[in-house]
Assembly symmetry: C2
Homo-oligomer: 306 residues x 2
């Protein structure tokens, strides 16, 4: 069987233990696989269990890395909600094609029926952008952006910044996790979360608080049946997908955790990876783009070597 | 129940008969819904049944509009394949998350087992780009693009062009339909087709022949279970989704067709729609982007008024 395969690696990679094979360091140009094969242990990082969420669904686990530096109050509030089991037993309420999957309390807003938020807050002041500071460790992308003056990576997250306003923000790339809100800017708190499952809706940037991104298990969300109600809401109770549990990794016994390593975005290896993707060198490509869009940069994930 | 809804309309709209309601022509700025409510019958077009495909799956129908002006030989070849029932009984072979769904002959490449292409061709010369001519009726977008010197719409399709080379090409936005190929540029012919189901893989532009786009039924493809093999291929026969039939609308009895109207992209109404999406005016948005990415421009579809 020799299918035409569009031989392109997935954007969200889960690599088996890297092969450590025959890369030729110093020889350019390289493919992404060669860059990864030549990577050193220090090119990889393990996400902090205190800021990692496990969204456990009947079909499996979605792993979310939170970005406390970009939305400190929302992240802390979501971690409190998770620690106190707020989301356990709630449900995925919405799957809108080429847009978002969203979960929360089916009874939200119904007096006397909605679930208590415990010691967490129901509403917080918006964290749509935060002031730039050196701690953000910026890795710029060179090819411009339709929506923002400058885009790049910070702490492993795709982000944008504006030197004029001094603000930086997480961008709505595929897999971004944000905080649903009503019309009031300060009406979200983290009790309803959404994940981008389509073309990056970058017009949401700076309009809603982004708290992190999915690093494994996207297909458990992106392949859900789309809701047939307005905005992709499920119309019947039985269409909703129950949340088995949403926990901080730190609250899960070590043996039940999902060990992952993520490629750092502040290293020469990452810069080489970006370059490998700006100009694809495998035989399939006839016209290398010479450019890359922020949301097309792969952020490799692998299981740690045993 | 008052959920935080991220009150944003879907990018791929299927409108019920337009309300014709209370839009105030001439009063700006307007929302997209106001623009559509004020649209005239002449703002809409019906796709040509000779160049429309119905991909009928067990779960329903996917409607594809072909773009013969951009890929005349591939489109004609695919129409021959459809007319001669080549695809009927074949299968969806691949669903790779954030990338593509692809269908074709599970036995492709197996001597003596693969399906005959009848009077069609198995391989054609690549049509990655075509020479610009006035017939393309270009509606430019004003906000630039990471990948191409110029982007806009032509005949209802998102496209890019380069005045220096005089070439124009269809872009890989969500829903784009392209022709799978092997490493040789001229190795595709239309026996394997793919649809973009994730963030626009614009690096494929000018590397593969794009023949059209899905105008209805995307969710029948985008919500398919992802394949667990390399590149998202299904590993077992029983995981593949059988194609009931893939026919030209013109070959389907009138009573079994799916009547649709698409918003024209060469009218002041479309320009107003783009403007409404560049600067969202509904109450939910706090910081209108002021810009729009090619692949975020909605291309509204509606059922014709009875």
């Amino acid at each position: 069987m020799a299918l035409s395969t569009l031989s392109v690696l997935p954007t969200l990679l889960v690599l088996a233990a890297a092969s450590g094979a025959d890369a030729a360091p110093g020889v350019k140009p390289r493919t992404m696989q060669q860059v990864l094969d030549a990577s050193a242990p220090a090119d990889w990082r393990r996400p902090d269990p205190a800021h990692t969420l496990y969204l456990d669904l009947p079909a499996g686990r979605v792993v979310i890395e939170l970005a406390p530096i970009f939305a400190p109050h929302h992240v802390a509030n979501i971690e409190t909600l998770a620690h106190e089991h707020y989301f356990d037993g709630l449900a995925i309420l919405r799957a809108q094609d080429n847009f978002v999957v969203q979960w929360g309390d089916p009874a939200a807003g119904e007096a006397g029926k909605e679930k208590s938020v415990g010691s967490a807050q129901r509403r917080l002041k918006a964290e749509f952008t935060v002031p730039w500071r050196a701690a953000f460790a910026w890795t710029p992308l060179p090819d411009g952006d339709v929506y923002a003056p400058e885009v790049g990576f910070s702490g492993g997250f795709p982000a944008a910044r504006d030197r004029k306003t001094g603000q930086v923000w997480l961008t709505h790339c595929y897999g971004a996790v944000g905080v649903g809100r009503d019309n009031d800017a300060d009406s979200g708190g983290g009790t309803e979360l959404y994940v981008v499952i389509g073309h990056a809706p970058r017009h949401l940037d700076r309009n809603i608080t982004v708290v992190g991104r999915v690093v494994q298990g996207m297909e458990l969300l992106s392949a859900l049946p789309r809701g047939t109600g307005a905005l992709g809401f499920y119309e019947k109770d039985e269409q909703r997908i129950p949340i088995t549990a949403l926990r901080r990794a730190a609250d899960v016994p070590e043996a039940e955790r999902t060990p992952l390593e993520l490629l750092r975005t502040d290293t020469p290896t990452f810069t080489a990876l970006v370059e490998a993707r700006r100009n694809r060198r495998d035989e399939w490509y006839k016209v290398p783009a010479g450019k890359i869009d922020l949301c097309n940069v792969p952020l490799p994930v692998r299981a740690p070597k045993p």
